[in-house]
Assembly symmetry: C2
Homo-oligomer: 214 residues x 2
């Protein structure tokens, strides 16, 4: 239906920005929006926006622009937010527990079916209805059949070991929240979301600004 | 002390990877490490690693390599993880609450001093010793003096409004967890960590792999 392989990565990264803005318009009951208005609101060139949206086979109407409801639905569908993606999570500490409890993720199509940890304080419990098992269960019983995504929120020192286990039980995409650089086979998707690394980038930018002003 | 402005962004993004690996070596009581070993472990060219580390005025010794304890200390110091950065957080929902409770962040130098929300269910409470105030208090009493960083974990539709308020009360860096593309003055640092956008990138990669195999 779409030619996803041809989609440039920067386009893919911008699409959620458009959706966030369109969600806002939708909440405000706006019916039509021009690429110029989107451009002004989120600071991306109007021509770039039109080009990006053409990958989704969406085209605005002359003088009217894009229909908000249609654009929202197309974006949600294309980005995968409209369908269910089952996942398991290894490491149910503060961040892992929070991701399980975050209702926002389910609105974006992520369905966490089980958590795994080694800590007796959380194993056997439920968080927002999601059971937390001992990680040994993953080795003995394998992965819940439907899960394709494995979320890694363990301490960085065991991130690689955790990734290897997830791949061994059939997980096809790893969402790595640790700053550890996981190595894996080429057919496995690795998405890094290292919030601590972002912290370092922010500290550094702040330091540069402080130096410029001092 | 450092020429931070000359530091390329990709270098800055790689430094936390090195630190995560060095932390692991440190936990294993390893004393020295070569750039070749780091390269093998985290899949970055050894020459690139040596070049990156030279920005920190760290050089390995011939045939011995880098001293793990020294490299760890230098990286933590350079990345800002060794000093305290005070922050406030607006939006104490599941993600915001989790960031407050995440002891990991304090290990990386982030000290959250207060949370703000409009929800009566959390206002007046404490999370891990951090008080949660009504957001109106930020307008009436301003920002706790020492805070330079404002964390935004509100719904995307109010992200811009929240950013404007934070800047108005003197915040100099915004850590934006929403997918909304915040606009602000050039002297304000904006760090985007949009976990939902990362989710879309991961779904898309998975879709491409599934298409290739199907």
């Amino acid at each position: 239906m779409y030619n996803r392989e041809a989609l440039p990565e920067p386009t893919l990264r911008r699409l959620p920005w458009y959706l966030a803005y369109i969600d806002m318009l939708s909440a405000d009951h706006v019916e039509y929006v021009s690429s110029t208005s989107i451009a002004k609101a989120i600071n991306v060139d109007a021509s770039q926006i039109a080009k990006d949206l053409s990958y989704l086979n969406i085209r605005g109407k002359t003088r009217i622009g894009y229909e908000v409801a249609e654009l929202r639905q197309e974006l949600r569908f294309f980005l995968g937010f409209a369908s269910r993606h089952d996942a398991i999570i290894v490491g149910v500490g503060s961040l892992g527990g929070a991701l399980i409890a975050d209702s926002g993720l389910s609105r974006y199509g992520l369905n966490i079916v089980a958590g795994y940890d080694t800590n007796p304080a959380v194993v056997g419990k439920e968080i927002s209805g999601v059971p937390v098992y001992d990680v040994s269960r993953l080795e003995s019983e394998g992965c819940p059949q439907e899960a394709e995504i494995g979320i890694i929120t363990v301490p960085p020192v065991v991130a690689q070991e955790c990734a290897d286990l997830l791949v061994a039980v059939g997980i096809r995409a790893l969402w790595n929240f640790t700053p550890y650089r996981i190595r894996t086979a080429a057919d496995i998707v690795v998405q890094n979301t290292s919030i601590y690394a972002h912290l370092a980038v922010m500290y550094n930018r702040l330091e540069v600004k402080n130096d410029m002003q001092g």
